[in-house]
Amino acid sequence: MIEYLVCAAAFGLLLLGIHRKVIARIQMRPGPPVWQEILHALKFSFKSTWVPRTASATLFVGIVLVAIAIWSAALFVVLAGESILILIGIYMLHKIVEHGFGLSSGSPYGKFGGVRSVISAASEIPLFVTITAIYFFTGSLLLRDIVAYQAVHGPLLLIVPPAAIAMYLVILSKLPFGPFSIVESKEIVSGYKTEHFGVWRAALAVTDGLKTFVLLYAFVLIFLGALPFWLILALMTAVLVSLSFVCAITPVLSPYDSVTVQSIITGLMLAYIGYLWWVVP
């Protein structure tokens, strides 16, 4: 099991490296090598590390542990085929982790990152709408049931395409450099990550790797169903590259606009659910 964690984190970091590379190439820059994010994680773990004097020490360190722990748990939830509600819960609680990172240091940049993550929390309700749409068809939220449903009826991507789009947007909002990445956008240095340097940052990189892996893996499992493992990895990469295209050609929205756009998407999804409720007996 521990090997899954390590491999998932490494592969997730590799995906983030590919993400950066693709964006760079679209913008006609050479870009860093694809394994740059893995190197980053290692590099940061060798740096000397302490806790800033102004920080709330326990929270400053504790939140790093919590961050890795919740995404490790998320990976196990996905692997075990448990309820995707748990996965979504962990996803939402990643917001709390962002607050914790941002606020615990006392730095104004971190604080702005934390405040922005509060703002954007309300806009991530498309996730729940996605869930409801899936529940309409599968009648269960256990991942293994969803996969079993797709083995019979074909991929959910073709059955509920709007739900797939909503979850795609949600993953987009978690990727760096995207239109909704207001939490760590560059005008506030690195947002909530600003004050976590050295080993803390390395641990944060591990979290990012796990998070990217879990979200993309869950996306493929939920909307395409059980496939050979190599094909799943290939599809994850394909989804990520498509996301990178979106990130490369869109500007970062201003914080409140980002939330408004996401809320409008939620509204559209709710209308779609209403339509489903009307049509499907």
Partner: protein, 69 residues
């Protein structure tokens, strides 16, 4: 805040030991899967942090840090 090498070493050894024990127990079937997963969720973050800290933790006889340009 100074990092004590001993503390970090203890933490690293403890978390690594716990993970190895849980792993062995899982492969021999002594504990169910969920228990092993719970142990990993708790011990893996500690392992990541202490491993990183251990690489750089001072032993008490360091040089002066370079603070000026």
């Amino acid at each position: 805040m100074a990092m004590k090498r001993k503390t970090v070493e203890y933490g690293l050894t403890a978390s690594a030991l716990i993970i190895v024990i849980a792993w062995i127990a899982l492969t021999t079937g002594a504990i169910p899967l969920w228990a092993a997963e719970a142990v990993f969720v708790v011990a893996f973050p500690a392992l990541v942090l202490t491993l990183g800290l251990w690489w750089r933790a001072g032993g008490g006889e360091e040089d002066f840090p370079f603070i000026g340009y």
